[in-house]
């Protein structure tokens, strides 16, 4: 496989990814991965709960966050224009990118115009989503990831598996091995005798990246929030690599999804409380940077903002699905998800894994691939994700809505145009079964007849099912069918008069 398949999810049509269940099967069987994910997600789960419990107005903050985002989305055009005006007035330049290719072209052009051949990057979901590093590489520009987890992924020629901690699938010993074997290829080698204590690993990253920060002329970032009223961008981080990339280079390019807009400065008071507690379970993350255009004598002299659509307006067109655009990328939903914990992030085939990925990817990318059509089913609908979401995205609701889109098809928006989707293939048997069940359930008499037939033949029922039923019986015994259904018992014991109450009512 080419390098592209290792380092990115972009190019999926060229390298089709397996549907979620197949990809998950491998992860479920990987004991190290299971242990790594279990350890990390359980650690953060309890901490998040404690951090949230400190605020007695959490539910109100959550509701306010939801309302701010919903209001912004309802008036997104107006707020984007206001944002553009404010950024421009403050000395920035605003670019609009309808899709990933266009965003990559814009950024590549901007870097080329500086004459530089390398850039330092702050962890950014948007630039991962569009495959910016690969696009820059194709233009002969080296992009250095500077977030510790991103560095681990980049050095290991790996794929991210978590929104906040892209290398969550790696434990400390694996990280040490990657640093030891790969750092030298990218710059300063790992210190002699590097051990796997987290502090030493962090120190190794500090030394390795410092020379890159100090010489960098171009920085590339995303943003957590953009304030329309003031033109201010906000980056929330922990390590200080963000500050390095945002302040030391001469040119700063920020690629940001259009849904990251909030109307007013004041709105940050909600998200700066809910995001850190949901994300790293901290009262406040170590560093938050805000900047408005350029400032004389402080920080970059040139600032470019690339506003990215890439499927977001298609998502906006779906009135149930659009709530996914409220997401502030905290990853609380990943950390509580029992499916994510066992399937791992790679099974989602996207930089957006976990529950939010399961509703975001099929909307941003459509449901044309086997993988994207399988993602809405990658959930037991347990609702833990909705419970922790700081902007109250009802992920189970959207999952079920997208399942409908997969099995029923219908009219949706792709690349800004209305298209009619046909029901996805591979669901024919299920569709027939659902229809048959619907017929039976519409007629209590038929249901009773079926129950009686099952009871009469109960001794002959196999312990293991053939065909699709094997998926159940491979790991679980089937319940035994009782001699008598409840309705027959009820009739036998309560309705000795023999009156039939189950004539076809109401169907």
């Amino acid at each position: 496989m080419s390098r592209t398949s290792g380092g990115t999810f972009v190019g999926m049509p060229a390298f089709p990814m397996p549907a979620f269940p197949e990809a998950a099967r491998e992860a479920v069987g990987d004991a190290t991965l299971r242990a790594n994910l279990r350890h990390a997600t359980h650690t953060i789960r309890d901490k998040r709960a404690r951090a949230v419990a400190e605020l007695d107005d959490w539910e109100r903050l959550r509701e306010a966050g939801k309302q701010i985002k919903d209001h912004t989305l309802r008036h997104l055009g107006r707020y984007l224009e206001q944002l553009e005006e404010a950024v421009t007035a403050a000395g920035g330049t605003v670019h609009w990118a309808a899709d990933a290719d266009e965003a990559n072209r814009i950024v590549t052009g901007l870097v080329e115009a500086t004459g530089e051949r390398e850039v330092v990057k702050v962890k950014s979901m948007a630039t991962q989503e569009i495959g910016l590093n690969e696009a820059l590489e194709a233009a002969g520009i080296r992009a250095y990831e500077t977030d510790l987890a991103e560095l681990i992924v980049q050095l290991g020629d790996d794929r991210p598996s978590h929104i906040l901690v892209p290398a969550i699938h790696r434990n400390r010993a694996e990280i040490r091995d990657i640093f030891r074997s790969e750092m030298a290829r990218w710059g300063r080698p790992a210190p002699e005798g590097l051990t796997d204590t987290p502090a030493e690993l962090a120190e190794a990253a500090r030394l390795h990246l410092r020379e890159k920060f100090l010489r960098a002329k171009v920085g590339i970032s995303g943003a957590n929030f953009m304030v329309a009223e003031t033109g201010t961008l906000v980056v929330v981080e922990s390590e200080g690599n963000g500050r390095m990339c945002l302040t030391l280079p001469e040119t700063l390019i920020s690629v940001v999804g259009i849904e990251k807009t909030v109307p007013a400065w004041r709105d940050l008071e909600v998200f700066l409380q809910t995001l850190p507690r949901s994300s790293t379970a901290e009262r406040m993350n170590p560093y938050t940077s805000t900047w408005t255009g350029t400032t004389d004598g402080d920080g970059p002299r040139a600032f470019h903002l690339v506003l990215l659509d890439n499927g977001r307006t298609d998502t906006l067109a779906d009135e149930v699905g659009r709530q996914a655009l409220r997401c502030i990328r905290c990853s609380a939903c990943l950390n509580v998800c029992p499916v994510y914990e066992r399937a791992g992030g790679h099974a989602y085939g996207s930089v957006y894994p976990g529950p939010i990925g399961a509703i975001l990817n099929p909307q941003l990318r459509g449901t044309a691939t086997a993988l994207d059509a399988s993602l809405p089913y990658a959930s037991s609908l347990c609702g833990a994700c909705y419970e922790v979401c700081p902007v109250a995205i009802d992920i189970p609701e959207v999952l079920v809505h997208l399942r409908e889109r997969v099995v029923q098809g219908g009219e949706f928006t792709r690349h800004g145009a209305k298209v009619t989707l046909r029901p996805a293939g591979g669901h024919a048997a299920e569709r027939a079964a659902m229809r048959a069940a619907g017929l039976v359930f519409a007629r209590p008499g038929l249901l009773r007849a079926g129950q009686r037939l099952a009871a009469r033949t109960r001794r002959a029922h196999p312990r293991k099912l053939p065909g699709p039923g094997r998926a159940w019986s491979a790991t679980r015994d089937l319940p035994t069918v009782p001699e008598e259904s409840f309705r027959d018992w009820w009739r036998r014991t309560r309705e000795r008069t023999g009156r039939t109450d189950d004539r076809e009512a109401g169907a």
Partner: protein, 227 residues
């Protein structure tokens, strides 16, 4: 058609006709402006506790003793050079033997990297989250001077610069200025989702809570170090 028009057009079609809805009416602001009704003294204590909880080293002093405390902290660190923002009150470093290095427009990041420490004031501090905010005022300087050195001493004037909550801090700050919110030293949760201090930013953050007016009548409490 420009991409700008394309995107704005897609948004318009996605949303259809939207009735006008004033921003002020769109959000229920019933959440707390601050958590708990704390006295001024208790708010400052909470700031100290929360700073220390995220491994900032917290000290208290009054104005008269500030130069002495700063000198001691720099000496204890073994700092030979200390970066100085242009508007730092000159007497703050009067007792220190470290060589002050003014931040010049022409200094390169590599030159800044050679400074052992940096001393600044701050714009506001947030008690509930243990956060100090820098806004590039003359006593804080450019963003990079508090980033590149490995040791940052930040002086917070208490109680005047302390607010209890994030909403109150935002109201005091000017979004037009570049802001840096700092809560403890640089840290990461990237290894097994557990927090470890010390990556790219200053690995040691010391915060001096300086009390009272500039008059020296209040006795100094020396220092308390937590965490």
């Amino acid at each position: 058609m420009s991409s700008r028009e394309i995107i704005l057009g897609r948004i318009g079609r996605a949303l259809g006709p939207v009735p006008d809805e004033p921003y002020e009416a769109a959000v229920d602001r019933g959440y707390a402006d601050a958590h708990g009704d704390l006295t001024t003294g208790r708010t400052v204590d909470l700031l100290a506790e929360n700073l220390a909880d995220y491994r900032a080293l917290v000290h208290r002093a009054d104005h008269a003793r500030l130069p002495e405390v700063l000198a001691r902290l720099l000496a204890a660190r073994g700092a030979r050079t200390v970066l100085v923002p242009p508007g730092l009150p000159p007497n703050w470093l009067a007792d220190s033997g470290a060589v002050p290095v003014p931040d010049r427009a022409g200094s390169t990041p590599a030159q800044l990297d050679r400074a052992d420490s940096v001393v600044t004031g701050c714009a506001v501090a947030v008690a509930e989250t243990g956060t100090i905010v820098l806004d590039g005022s003359p006593d804080q300087g450019r963003r990079r001077i508090t980033l590149v050195p490995d040791h940052h001493i930040c002086v917070v004037r208490v109680p005047g610069q302390v607010v209890s909550s994030v909403p109150r801090a935002l109201r005091r700050l000017d979004p037009a200025r570049p802001l840096t919110w700092i809560s403890g030293p640089s840290a990461t949760s990237d290894i097994e989702l557990d927090r470890v201090e010390g990556v790219h930013g200053p690995r040691t953050l010391e915060v001096v809570l300086v009390e009272g007016a500039e008059s020296p009548d209040r006795a100094c409490a020396g220092t308390i170090t937590r965490g």
